[in-house]
Symmetry: C2
Subunit: 254 residues, 2 copies
């Protein structure tokens, strides 16, 4: 049995509570948040604390709090040499300081408050200073998911950059597609199945091997026609830069 104290009351803390609550190998012995917020309807009120000096003995203290607050709360913990982890993708492990043994338990997924999260498909990125603590995190994460990865702080930084491309920038491509359709009274939903298939394919194949479209075909007539249709300068610039990037990348391989 792993005894857990959960600090925070946001999306990650709430989803972690609901998930660990069902696990027999994990016991949430206490929750801390300043506003005395319940993370689950079944949660006993006397297990919620608002004062860090009331923290009980536990195997792991999970700081599921805002990136900017991790350093401050880690410094305020009233004990030494216990196992303290954060859950952030972009904060290095050393922000947790040197008072305690430190680690990271980072579920790489976007969480929305009232949407159920199926943790079994969520990749967990784990990091710990020593191997015993890493084992604790592995046991903890394995109770929720089969996708466990040992990832250093430097590697997490890399994942974060890659995620900007495959999530943030991809979403902006969807936004542009949506804008183009709206402007010309074409229902964007016609493109939904194509969007889904594009995403599904990437789990099966190297993205370079399935690059299609006028850029990789060097279909200059179509490229010109498309650039004439695009009226907004930003859309035109993106179309041109990405067309050139695709051509350079695939030209190099020939």
């Amino acid at each position: 049995m792993i005894r857990v104290v959960l600090l925070g009351a946001g999306n990650v803390a709430t989803h972690f509570y609901s998930a660990f609550y069902k696990e027999k190998t994990v016991e949430i012995i206490q929750c801390y948040n300043r506003k005395n917020i319940k993370l689950h309807p079944d949660q006993k009120e006397d297990l919620i604390i608002t004062d860090l000096s009331d923290l009980k003995e536990a195997d792991v203290y999970i700081l599921a709090i805002h990136d900017d607050a991790i350093k401050e709360i880690a410094n305020l913990l009233p004990f030494r040499n216990k196992f303290v982890v954060h859950t952030s993708g972009s904060v290095p492990i050393d922000v947790l300081g040197t008072n305690n043994r430190t680690g990271v338990l980072y579920p790489l997924q976007t969480f929305t408050k009232d949407t159920y999260v199926d943790f079994s498909t969520v990749p967990f990125c784990l990091e710990a200073e020593n191997s015993n603590d890493l084992q604790t995190l592995k046991t903890l994460a394995s109770s929720l998911s089969k996708k466990i990865f040992e990832i250093s702080s430097a590697q997490r930084g890399i994942l974060h950059v890659a995620a900007v491309f495959v999530n943030n920038f991809v979403n902006h491509m969807f936004a542009i597609g949506n804008d183009i359709c709206k402007e010309h009274q074409v229902p964007f939903e016609i493109l939904h199945p194509l969007i889904l298939e594009t995403a599904q394919k990437v789990s099966l194949t190297d993205p370079d091997s399935i690059q299609t479209g006028p850029a990789v075909r060097n279909d200059t007539k179509t490229i010109e026609r498309h650039l004439n249709i695009l009226k907004e300068k930003s859309q035109k610039n993106i179309y041109q830069l990405l067309t050139t990037a695709i051509q350079d990348k695939h030209g190099k391989k020939l």
Copy 2:
């Protein structure tokens, strides 16, 4: 019963054959291709023709052939005033000429040869010169899919540009994410669930309302760190242009 002649032997023709073959309301009375290729193991050989002059009387002649061949084959058809359609996303209806009544039956999905296609989720874009013929296409497409859209040639042109953004350019974002991970020995598969969720969300919500990341937060520290990590010039340029585009778009709304 709609009597269909299918011209072509590529992916679209093959998938159409398998799909229509099962439908009681559709009868494929003949297939044409120059190499005498069977589109299905059950297909009777005397129903395959290699000479356009052997074409039988049908309700609709479907040219499921390469974009560049549509004009030529349409001109070679040895009859007048019959209903002739093509299946292309990027070719205008008037390429079919004026000898026959013309239309378009465009399934908006990418087809791979040996992969089963579930047409029930594929959006069909229909176009026809006259309303009777449009009704024939609606009946034909409805036998396969519930997603039927009446789309003009001009609108199809718009869909094609939008598809370049949401499919071709998105795939290039995946390729860059993959390259970044590879370069730093981080398994790209960690990002697969995030990629899938990003695509799933777009069917439920306006993409602008769910834009996240350092660009929209104007998190200049993170943006600078990311630009330092990116070594390849093309990746840097794309990061900068898309970051500015996201900031301009979301700044405007404030």
